[in-house]
Amino acid sequence: MVLQPFFCKGRFKREVPMDFISKNLPYLLAGISVGGQYALIAIGYTMVYGILRLINFAHGDIFMVAALVMVYASASFPLYVTIPLVLVSTVLIGFIVERVAYKPLRDAPRMSIMISAIGVSYLLQNLALYITGGLAQIYPSIPLISNSVSIGPATTKVVTIVTPVLTVLLVILLMWLINHTKIGMAMRAVADDFETSRLMGIKINSVISMTFIIGSFLAAVGSLLYFTNYASVVPTSGAMPGLKAFVAAVFGGIGSIPGAMIGAFIIGICENIIKGLGWTTFSDAFTFALLIVILVVKPTGLFGERATDKV
């Protein structure tokens, strides 16, 4: 192991480092993997917030719906049909939710849109409850990434390794999209100044739709990875990952895509370290404590930009 010389300094015995790694590597792996999955959800939050200043409470539930689509579709189609179907239908649901529940409230107070988002979340969960009959659905296993693999002393699923890599690749792709394409430029403009962009002739609605499409697409990918790891879907499956992903987005600085990713990794890893320390009761609470601390100390997050209120 490369780390060995470092740990061998001083009075540590030779067995300690190996033991230390084998004991703690699983926590770290779990953290990185779940962090990557949070990251994919968090990007949806951060982009929507950046443009509409809306906490899209329904985003976590869209993530859950993607998983349910996978469960039901895989019962009748082969995998190479199912996965594209999941991606397309999730994107469609994201698009429809925006058009039906948020667009009519474009000029309403922010609180109304947020309440509408809570309403959508409520509706999606209840719909899922109705369709599944309240029974947990077993997520189909996807060949290759569902298999177990050994990394040094730890054994885990392949998806654990795939997740961070795929997440980083997708973020790079997304950054390129935002910085180098026309629609990306329009998105940045709208995020910067909603009203002016509207006056400058940017088609606000298509930009917003595009944001939801990208967000939902990434949530669908996230859901494929997440539920391959934790293969049970219930109507409330999306709520907690959704909230944590939002915390990650705030942590990284809302509106910043790399920030959301880094925030998500930090939260995923911290959460598992907390569990490793035996503070399991507080593994969720810790995330929220972190949120309150970051909001109070540095409301703009790690990479967020400061906005001064105009008086």
């Binding site: 779990a30 934790y230 907690m240 399991t280 009761t281």
Partner: protein, 387 residues
């Protein structure tokens, strides 16, 4: 808007008044079970047993009159907050006796509603002592957590020479925490072992870290009395990490959900339960046929025809209720309450007889089963008696 709302309200009230029309010669048995929430899967299987029993024996003779037995089924949503309203729904429909619930918390939450209404309730698989403790209207036909916890602790010590156990319970779930407590109590105080206890919060999906801790602590067995939802995830995570420590669990894990999750994986899973499939072949064959005859039943049973212990318990509970009605000679809940104390019944899960203190069934044996991960069925391990 206001007019519209008013109209809707009127319409709905009208409907609600029109529909629950009761025939003259009917006795109602309330089924207070979760159909959604954490315990939805188990609740549905338990309800299936009751429904099957009802289809087998849809009438009862009370005081010389033939009554049709009608089941009034409500969903308590596995929630202590929604439970009481569901319970009052049953009471206001005029049930003579209530069966349920799967899960102890909801039973405790509804207990007072039944008590106020003077309706007796028969717990089917709520194993927490507090359900029946100190009251005279709540009965139960299953064993209790102190018994189950002790049985499991002994099983672990005897079969695996375990002196260190990892206990994983769900935060806020009284069944889980209670059973974990009794296991720990027996394992540490009676058997002199050591327990590492951890809890996971609601909605937790990632069990990797918990299981890593179990491995790191050098546990000989893992005890995880959880709902089937969490069980799936625990099994999955254990398999992914290649954990070969035996996993023990209580009656909730006796479900085909577990079998499906464990199938094809290299794991040792042991559960204690109320009933062993194959214990009564006639019953098994008939109920399987009944389950397969209807797609809704099949879905409610988790997609196949494995007979869960809770289903058998539900079946027995129904007949206990019928016995009580017969003995009471009346559909009056108060009379039924009095009658239950003396009911004895031999069901598919064994002899049922209530003690005279809390109205708990005297059960002294638990079945231990292991999941056969190749065939996807339960293999019988043995009967564990109380010491």
């Amino acid at each position: 808007m206001k007019k519209l709302a008013a109209a809707a309200v009127c319409a709905v009230t009208a409907l609600a008044c029109v529909f629950p029309v009761s025939a003259a010669e009917t006795v109602k048995i309330g089924v207070y079970e979760p159909a959604s929430g954490d315990n939805g899967a188990g609740g549905k299987q338990e309800t299936l047993g009751i429904q099957y029993a009802n289809s087998v024996c849809p009438t009862v003779e009370i005081g010389g009159t033939e009554y049709n037995v009608e089941l009034a089924i409500v969903d308590n949503e596995s929630s202590n907050e929604k439970g009481p309203t569901a319970a009052s729904q049953l009471v206001s429909e005029g049930v003579s006796v209530v069966l349920g619930s799967y899960g102890s918390g909801v039973s405790i939450a509804a207990s007072d509603i039944f008590e106020q209404a003077g309706v007796p309730a028969i717990g089917v698989t709520c194993t927490n002592p507090q359900v029946t403790e100190g009251n005279t209207h709540y009965f139960r036909i299953c064993f209790l957590d102190p018994f189950q916890g002790t049985v499991l602790a002994n099983f672990a010590a005897e079969n695996f020479d375990a002196d260190k156990a990892y206990v994983l319970t769900k935060l806020g779930d009284d069944y889980s925490v209670g059973l974990g407590y009794y296991f720990q109590d027996a394992f540490e105080n009676e058997l002199g072992g050591e327990v590492v206890a951890e809890t996971f919060p609601e909605g937790n999906a990632d069990f990797t870290s918990y299981l890593t801790t179990a491995v790191n602590e050098g546990a000989d067995v893992i005890f995880a009395p959880t709902s089937t939802e969490a069980a799936q995830l625990i099994i999955d995570a254990a398999a992914a990490q290649g954990i070969n420590i035996p996993i023990l669990a209580g009656d909730t894990w006796d479900s085909n959900v577990i079998l499906n999750a464990a199938k094809g994986k290299d794991l040792d899973i042991y559960v204690t339960t109320f009933y062993q499939e194959g214990g009564n072949e006639e019953f098994d064959a008939n109920i399987k046929e009944w389950i397969n005859s209807d797609s809704t039943n099949l879905a409610n049973n988790g997609g196949d025809d494995t007979v869960a212990a809770v289903t058998a318990m539900g079946y027995d509970a129904y007949f206990v209720a019928l016995e009580a009605l017969k003995a009471a000679g009346s559909t009056d809940p108060a009379a039924v309450t009095e009658a239950i104390w003396d009911v004895t019944y031999t069901g598919v899960t064994g002899d049922i007889k209530f003690d005279s203190v809390d109205g708990d069934a005297a059960r002294d044996a638990a079945y231990v089963k292991t999941a056969n991960t190749e065939t996807g069925a339960w293999d019988f391990v043995g009967v564990q008696q109380q010491k």
